[in-house]
């Protein structure tokens, strides 16, 4: 009987202890609640914050999720959407996901998230607070230094902008002068020409056609444009004719098909490159591929001809053409007409008036005029490019008070492990590792 009793007693204890050990009900039912919310939970019947349900005081932190939003379990892991508040005295308070409560990992510096006795968390808030404070101090210092630096930059930027603007307007004025000079030179030049011709052709009848031809010869730029268009067409035709001369990327892939004849290493690299996406640097391999392209067939060849717009010899002319066009478009004034056109126009006008009134010209040295003319045109184009780059520069957004104005022409480099990162503000960013360079966008 006695034995039985003690057994019962033992099992009773066991049950009690098991119930305690198996659930993680906190001893303080207000655990995990921020102080400002404590009043909310001091009622007999409490609402879930999203209004979906009500729960009793006994259900607060009873390790069973009643509110879908986790209101009733701020201090346990029972509700997935619950948030646990750590007081962290000595440091800043914080909220944790309920998934961190009693998970065996100390998350709060006050250790309050681990109360089921499975781990002992050291109280680290003072240290953490100190560290945080120091890092905050450092941050403030850095910030203050930064502010000074920024002010310096702003001051410098202001001056630089003023300087650049002054420069711009000076350049513009200069341009006007140069343009006028060019006009004048052009006029003189044409007149001289006209006079010379007149002298030469006196015996003959006046010939309008001829006149036109001269005009054509002199109106260089227009003619140039025509010439540039022609080679473009020619090279197009040429390209289609010269099918399959140089391999394109597209083709390189397909040429994996015919890998026979590669050395074993080349074949290994070739197949590897499919996964790595790295282009093979080995020129020899390209050659091999080309040589082995027996099965390519007419179709493959044709495809090449189309893809090949960066071909080498056949398209050289085309490239130059493009370059020239670009240059001429660079120096286009906002009015839409090129400055040369303008000069031409004025010159024509003058010429006509000269024709009409036949003003005699004395002592004009044609060569000298041509020299002068060339000098001024060169100067003008230089001016134009400086103006346009300055205008471009001034168009950028350099941030508040133009504090980044001086970064325009600067680059910053950072070496990390094997990579060198180079950032040129307003331009590009790259990653280099000695062998290759990657644009970082």
């Amino acid at each position: 009987m006695k034995q039985r009793l003690s057994l019962m007693y033992l099992s009773f204890i066991l049950i009690i202890s098991s119930r305690e050990s198996s659930s993680s009900i906190p001893s303080n039912s207000f655990i995990g609640i921020p102080p400002q919310d404590e009043d909310y939970f001091k009622r007999e019947i409490i609402k879930c914050k999203n209004g979906s349900k009500k729960f009793t005081k006994a259900q607060l932190n009873d390790d069973f999720c009643d509110c879908p939003d986790g209101t009733d379990e701020p201090g346990t892991s029972a509700c997935p959407l619950g948030k646990f508040y750590c007081k962290n005295i000595g440091h800043a308070p914080s909220f944790l996901y309920s998934s961190r409560v009693n998970d065996g990992i100390c998350d709060c510096c006050d250790g309050s998230d681990e109360y089921d006795g499975k781990v002992k968390c050291p109280y680290t808030c003072h240290e953490a607070g100190k560290v945080a404070m120091e890092s905050l101090k450092r941050k403030i210092e850095v910030y203050q230094e930064g502010v000074i630096l920024r002010n310096v930059e702003i001051g410098l930027a202001k001056r630089a902008i003023a300087r650049d603007k002054a420069e711009l307007s000076r350049l513009k004025n200069e341009r006007e002068v140069v343009e006028k000079n060019i006009c004048w030179m052009s006029f003189l030049f044409h007149r001289l020409r006209w006079q010379v011709r007149k002298l030469e052709q006196e015996p003959q009848e006046k010939d309008d056609k001829r006149n036109e031809k001269v005009e054509n010869e002199e109106s260089g730029p227009d003619k140039n444009v025509d010439r540039q268009i022609e080679p473009m067409k020619a090279s197009d035709v040429e390209k289609q004719g010269k099918a399959g001369e140089s391999p394109s990327d597209q083709n390189e892939k397909d040429k994996h098909e015919s890998s026979e004849g590669l050395s074993r290493e080349e074949l290994g690299r070739l197949v590897e490159s499919r996964w790595t996406g790295k282009k093979m640097k080995n020129d020899q391999l390209n050659k091999h591929i080309q040589m082995n392209q027996e099965e390519g067939g007419p179709d493959a060849g044709y495809e090449e001809s189309v893809v090949d717009n960066a071909g080498r010899s056949s398209t050289a002319q085309y490239k130059i053409g493009v370059q020239d066009l670009k240059n001429s478009s660079d120096i286009t004034t906002p009015s839409g007409k090129s400055w040369l056109d303008k000069i031409q126009e004025t010159a024509q006008n003058f010429l006509q008036s000269v024709n009409l009134f036949s003003i005699p010209v004395v002592n004009l040295d044609a060569n000298k005029i041509r020299k002068e003319y060339n000098h001024y045109t060169a100067k003008l184009s230089d001016l134009e490019s400086r103006i346009s780059s300055l205008t471009e520069k001034l168009k950028f957004d350099f941030g508040k008070q133009n504090k980044f104005y001086l970064f325009y022409d600067r680059c910053f480099e950072l070496k990390q492990d094997k990579y060198v990162y180079k950032v040129c503000p307003f331009r590009n960013a790259t990653q280099e590792d000695g062998r290759s360079k990657t644009q970082l966008g």
Partner: protein
């Protein structure tokens, strides 16, 4: 101009072609493979071998196979072959045919070692006698019949020779070999003067010093409507006919382990692994199986009905039948016939030969985060902390090849990973693990200790001339240890000790990639067939098992490292029959498109059916950038793969779950959390697989064997016997047609809504989830608290979800152990059976368990239960527990829809009863 347009269109065409940059031409088709081409030319009835000297010896039924009328012109083929039929417990017949060793063949043909487990031999039934019968329809020829199991017999017909298993009752055939007389065995012989044995393919020459040695034969499955198995292919689950009427592009299923760049989602071509095991299933609800233990290249035709219209061979017609044709380049006939009769029986029979799937560690059943490559320690720390920041659980962070010093495995890039141990310890402090990659190619660099050691010891595979084979892989010039050799395997295993693998810690596990083996400059991106292994075995003879031996050696290494106490985790890409004993596999380098998402299901199902249950596909697709919608759908599906890992190629954009906006983060988090809530269920299923071979993820017909509508369904699958899941495989899907098998209802996992079984339901689909249901009559254990990783869930309480059937009953199981050691083998586990009937839920033990757990059950959810009851009585203790309506799931705003017993508080390790009052 017109020309230009045409050219442009052509260019677009080409570009679209390169999307599928699978290089079909780089791999040998059957008609470029002489043995396959030859075999396919054979006509039914071509085999004239007959069984002579049939007798019982050493407990086997043995015979000699000789040609009926010796062909004078072909003297080589007249040596008799030896045949033996052995019988094993549980309905397994083994048939072996080889050259007679007493007749001094030119070379011993390779017999795959270390695949059949040693316990299998103990199950052998020693035959005492055979009866001789004249079987109707066999033209009066004789057959020898032996006992196979209760209800089954093994039969050897003598002339022409044929071997089959039949049901005793009614003499119904189950599986047969050589019924169509296609058997052919090319015996090793001396080369004739005018012969050229070399084979050339795309610049590679195979010297073939032993000449033709292939084997082929037909196998028929009776009472069968579909055949399945023989991974690994990206194709439908039910195998489509490859030859015969109605087959347009005739190409057999190929089993040849290859590293196929951007494999196509619908193709019979072989990819990373091979398991020559086929399962059949038919209307009768019965299954049977056939396994050919042979590691040489194999090609298998599934023959369409009417393929033999002109064959003139009479076959029993009363049974529906599927004929198949098996061809192998080398080796011997070592085949296993599995009588079934149920699908689960066939799987059990197969694993009794090749071994049970290893019990994984709990952590490895969680979510794995991988990428080629997490750059450096800072990157690792960042990714790790982002999971915490977004409250997304995960268990393992993976490092691909770039973590090494120049692709020398077992080393670390000192710049990028200067403190590997500290890095692992930081992860381990959160209960997380790390996995690093270790591939079989060893950099040929004299300063690399591993290479120096291996080359000095002569441990590398040799080329045909006997020098160390030198191939090209990630590190450049590389050699490959000969893993066929047990001595070399133990040498390799030693490399994983903490001393040898500098920078490794107990929380580090291993990933074996490229073990087909992948050789970038080899024929078909693999090793030449004339390379030489231990004892002069040619690579052609064991090619498909190389990855298996490598996987085995690595797993043994981890086992040794942990003094045999820590279960290894090794993921392998290549596999063979038996790989299930060593770890997990995944489906290799798939692509980020919907087709690959879809084909992952038949691929995982096929692997499970053939023993490899711990498998999955790369979530998100390895190549290419998935649209966020595809990625979300992939997480939703991948959460139910047995192996759940996100992985990506290094040219793809970062795709960790938090990078696609808040909504998508929430969806992916939800998908991953579903996996974590179901971990107790998954772990129980892994244990089921570990004791029975029945896979974690299974085809519908494995649970509903007589439901014909389920036979070719590979869009949906079962997780265990309780859950049915169907992926969403198209963009912006609004509806899905889901077939729910059986007579009982199914409950939507999210809403609890009941759907009738035996019907196709057209369901509305939201972005929130893919269709998933719990089958009425089942109980699923869950843990509904979210943690950082599975490690922190150990003490969390359980939820039981009871889905009641029409008689208000249900049952289910829960298996728990320490999640990492082998103590469970000595009884340190909890295995409970939960039964609900008559309003009572009882928990009772399965087997003797000696493991303690402080876990309680915090909640019991009843689906299909009429609400009304307010309290439940918990025994022992006669405590009362409240009943109320609660949500079915947590972690979102889910409505209170399910009858819930609140806080019954019972311990999971104990017996108890909960009565609803």
């Amino acid at each position: 101009m017109k020309m230009k347009q045409v050219a442009f269109l052509f260019l677009i065409f080409l570009a679209s072609q390169t999307v599928y940059s699978w290089k079909k031409d780089e791999f040998r088709a059957c008609d470029q493979t002489p043995f396959c081409k030859r075999a396919r030319f054979r006509k039914p009835g071509a085999c004239t071998l007959i069984a002579h000297d049939v007798s019982i010896s050493d407990g086997d039924l043995t015979a000699k196979l000789i040609p009926k009328a010796p062909h004078d012109q072909d003297q080589d083929q007249i040596k008799p072959l030896t045949l033996s039929v052995s019988v094993y417990q549980d309905g397994i017949m083994r048939l072996k045919i080889d050259e007679d060793p007493s007749l001094d063949p030119r070379k011993k043909r390779f017999q795959v070692a270390d695949v059949v487990i040693s316990e299998f031999e103990t199950k052998k039934l020693w035959l005492q006698s055979a009866s001789t019968e004249k079987i109707n329809g066999d033209d009066g020829g004789l057959s020898s019949v032996v006992y196979l199991s209760d209800g089954y017999e093994a039969v050897l017909r003598h002339d022409p020779f044929e071997v089959y298993v039949r049901e005793k009752a009614g003499n119904r055939r189950v599986v047969s070999l050589n019924s169509h007389g296609l058997f052919d065995f090319e015996q090793l012989r001396v080369k004739k003067e005018d012969e050229d044995w070399e084979e050339r393919f795309r610049g590679h020459t195979d010297t073939r010093p032993y000449g033709p040695q292939s084997i082929s034969f037909d196998v028929s499955f009776y009472g069968s409507d579909f055949v399945y198995g023989i991974p690994e292919h990206a194709s439908s689950f039910a195998l489509k006919p490859t030859r015969g009427p109605g087959v347009e592009e005739s190409e057999p299923f190929r089993l040849f382990n290859l590293d196929v760049f951007e494999y196509h989602h619908e193709s019979p071509f072989g990819i990373y692994g091979s398991i020559p095991f086929m399962v059949s299933h038919g209307k009768s609800g019965q299954s049977s199986g056939f396994f050919w233990l042979n590691a040489a290249e194999m090609q298998i035709d599934v023959l369409a009905k009417g393929w033999d219209a002109e064959g003139g061979i009479l076959m029993p017609t009363e049974q529906s039948r599927i004929d198949t044709f098996w061809m192998s380049e080398a080796g011997i006939v070592d085949t296993f016939f599995f009588a079934g009769p149920g699908p689960k029986d066939v799987v059990k029979q197969y694993v009794s030969v090749t071994g049970l799937p290893a019990m994984p560690q709990l952590f490895s059943t969680g979510y794995h985060q991988c990428r080629w490559n997490y750059r450096d320690e800072e990157d690792v720390e960042n990714v790790d902390s982002k999971f915490d920041e977004h409250d997304i659980p995960y268990d393992v962070l993976w490092l691909d090849i770039e973590h090494t010093d120049g692709k020398r495995y077992f080393t670390w890039d000192k710049m990028l990973f200067p403190h590997p141990e500290e890095m692992q310890r930081k992860l381990a402090a959160k209960g997380r693990r790390m996995v690093t990659i270790v591939d079989p190619h060893i950099k040929r660099d004299e300063s690399f200790h591993l290479h120096k050691d291996a080359s000095q010891r002569g441990y590398y595979i040799k080329d045909a001339t006997g020098k160390d084979y030198d191939g090209w892989c990630w590190p450049g010039s590389s050699s490959y240890p000969d893993m066929l050799n047990p001595e070399i395997r133990s040498w390799w295993a030693e490399k994983f000790s903490y001393d040898n693998y500098v920078g490794s810690t107990p929380s580090l596990y291993i990933w074996n990639d490229m073990n087909e083996p992948s050789v970038f400059n080899g024929p078909e991106v693999t090793m030449p067939r004339d390379a030489l292994h231990l004892g002069g075995v040619e690579h052609r003879e064991l090619h498909n098992a190389y990855g298996y031996y490598f996987h085995m050696a690595t797993a043994e290494g981890l086992l040794k490292r942990g003094d045999g106490k820590d279960r290894p985790f090794v993921l392998s890409r290549a596999f063979f029959a038996g790989s299930q004993r060593y770890g997990a596999v995944w489906t290799g380098d798939n692509s980020a498109d919907w087709d690959h998402l879809r084909v992952s299901v038949p691929m995982v199902l096929t692997l499970g059916l053939t023993g490899m249950t711990f498998s999955g596909a790369d979530v998100g697709g390895f190549f290419g950038n998935p649209e966020p919608e595809l990625l979300v759908r992939w997480y939703q599906l991948g959460a139910y793969y047995p192996f759940f890992r996100g992985h990506a190629h290094h040219d793809t954009k970062r795709r960790e779950p938090w990078l696609f906006g808040e909504r998508n983060t929430a969806l992916m988090r939800d998908a991953i959390r579903i996996r974590y809530t179901l971990l107790p269920y998954f772990y129980t299923l892994f244990r089921e697989a570990n004791v029975s071979g029945v896979p974690v993820v299974r085809p519908l017909w494995m649970e509903f064997p007589s439901d014909e509508a389920a036979f070719s369904n590979d869009e949906a699958f079962m997780v265990g016997n309780s859950l049915l899941v169907q992926g969403i495989y198209t963009a912006r899907a609004k509806h899905a047609s889901v077939y729910l098998p059986g007579k009982e209802s199914w409950y939507d996992l999210r809403t609890g809504t009941a759907y009738k079984g035996g019907k196709v339901h057209k369901l509305e689909v939201s972005e929130e989830s893919i269709p998933a249901f719990q089958r009425a009559g089942t109980i699923v254990p869950r843990k509904d608290r979210f943690r950082r990783s599975s490690t922190q869930m150990v003490h969390d309480p359980y939820t039981l979800v009871i889905a009641l059937n029409s008689s208000q009953a249900a049952e289910g199981e829960l298996y728990v152990d320490d999640g990492k050691s082998y103590d469970f083998k000595h009884g340190a586990y909890i295995h409970r059976r939960f039964v609900f009937s008559n309003g009572h839920l009882t928990s009772s033990p399965v087997g003797n368990s000696r493991f303690s757990s402080d876990c309680i059950i915090e909640r019991v959810i009843l689906l299909g239960f009429t609400p009304g009851a307010k309290t439940a009585l918990v025994e022992p203790g006669n405590q009362k527990a409240e009943i109320e309506l609660g949500p079915l799931r947590f972690g979102g705003q889910h409505a209170a829809v399910a009858v819930t017993i609140r806080k019954p508080g019972v311990r999971v390790a104990e017996d108890w009863k909960i009565k609803i009052l």
